[in-house]
Amino acid sequence: MTEEEKLNHFNSLIERDEKIEPKDWMPEAYRKTVLRQMTQHAHSEVIGMQPEGNWVLRAPTLRAKKILLAKIQDEGGHGLYLYSAAETLGMDRSEMIEQLHEGKAKYSHIFNYPTLNWADIGAIGWLVDGAAIVNQVSLQRTSYGPYARAMVRICKEESFHQRQGYEIMATMMNGTTAQKDMAQDAMNRWWWPSLMMFGPSDKDSWHTQESMHWKIKRASNDDLRQKFIDKTVDQAYVIGLTVPDKDLKFNETTKHWEIGDINWDEFWNVVKGNGLCNHKRISHHIQYHNEGKWVRQAVMSYSEKMNAIQTAASI
């Protein structure tokens, strides 16, 4: 096949909504974009274990501890599914981790915010996972096969995450004054960053157009954000939380909630490394990756020795 024929074949697969598989020919830019998005997504899941891990030892009941532990474990599992999907494009996990440590690979900016009280665990489940789910549901139809299949599995497993978060918020809003204050405080701190998770507005996002064309992304940042806002504002009212946006209003014509301006300076400031936890998240990951080195060396050495014994025995 000529290069042109290959490209035409690729384009026709995309057009017919068929999946691109690891060994298919693909434009280099497509490969790079998918790989960047999958590794970024994988790192986000793994780094996301830290802010929640910050409360797992302090969970207030046996039930809460069990749920939170299982949820953090899921995040790790999801990171793993995504690393596994990314590896189909020929980059191994150690290289992805190296990129993370060197700052060449990003993760979601949201995990650079600190978890300061128990209600933050509720807010992460309800708002952060809630936002992530809106995005991930749409990604189940992404054009790269292994990515789409990982998303299907992740969406199935994540369905409890948002509910457990909302349950924490609802319980605290039903509790003592101190608990209500914690819940509202968490709402105030997590609402806007959650909206930022969808990324800059479509008109400012240079990745969006290309990604939409190749069906890597299946919906625009603004559309996904609106979907999240519409369902979440109502959920806040149900349990008596105030949305920290004085400009928030319901548009009777469009039937959508309209929000005030998002402070994108804050977003870029956190992305650039000035969030309260950027440094901590990465240095934590580097520290434990390095501390695990002797373990990885030991098991490889053991496996080589065992293989040698086996080979010797079979001669």
């Binding site: 793994v46 009941t61 299982a70 953090i72 474990q73 790790g76 793993l80």
Partner: protein, 251 residues
Amino acid sequence: MTTKIELYNFVLRLADDNLILAQRLAEWCSCGPILEEDLAMTNISLDLLGQAEDFYEYASELNGEKSEDELAFLRSEREYYNHLLVEQPNGDFACTMLRQMLYSTYAKFLYEALLNSRDEKLVALATKGLKEVKYHFRHSSEWIIRFGKGTKESNERTKNALVELWRFTSDLFEMNETDKVLITSGISFSLRDIYPLWKAEISNVLEEAGLEIPNSENNIIGGINGIHTEYLGHLLSEMQFLQRAYPGAKW
């Protein structure tokens, strides 16, 4: 003859061991040597938490006043009956896996023996727990063998861990008034019966790993009488923070 208070103390002992070890393992969250093992340790922690919950539920039933959460979150060091081994700090990964192997082997023989208890509820809980601790034993003992025969460094780390933890193993087989009463009534059994089984199993694993049981004269005991190392207090103050800071709040 009434054995209710002894049974309650005995069940609490089982619950406390599971909870404290689960809490220790949860400290590994996001700190594992490979991501896969992070998930594996969480699975073990979740199994132990589940067992702790079951035992607290039974204790709560026997006690009639305190809920599971009150038992877990509102008792202090002196009221905790877990063994000293499970409250020891994680150390490195070799130390955590060794502690796990020592404890899971113990739990395996303990639950197997409890299958013959005259207390039906204990039999049911031991039956459920047994499947889980057998898997924990498999997982942790394989790691110890890999480390023993892996690199010089992994071998040395495991040896150090053995020296560090061995001094707390005779505590696992200590008995007090509680045991005396429960043995007489056929609810529990003498821990001396399972000690040789435990030691033989541990010796097998260590032998396969090319390691030896330390020649230690030190036997530190106290857990079942509420006498602990200083580590437990810190673990509890972190774990119990919210319940202590906001009395009466529902979570």
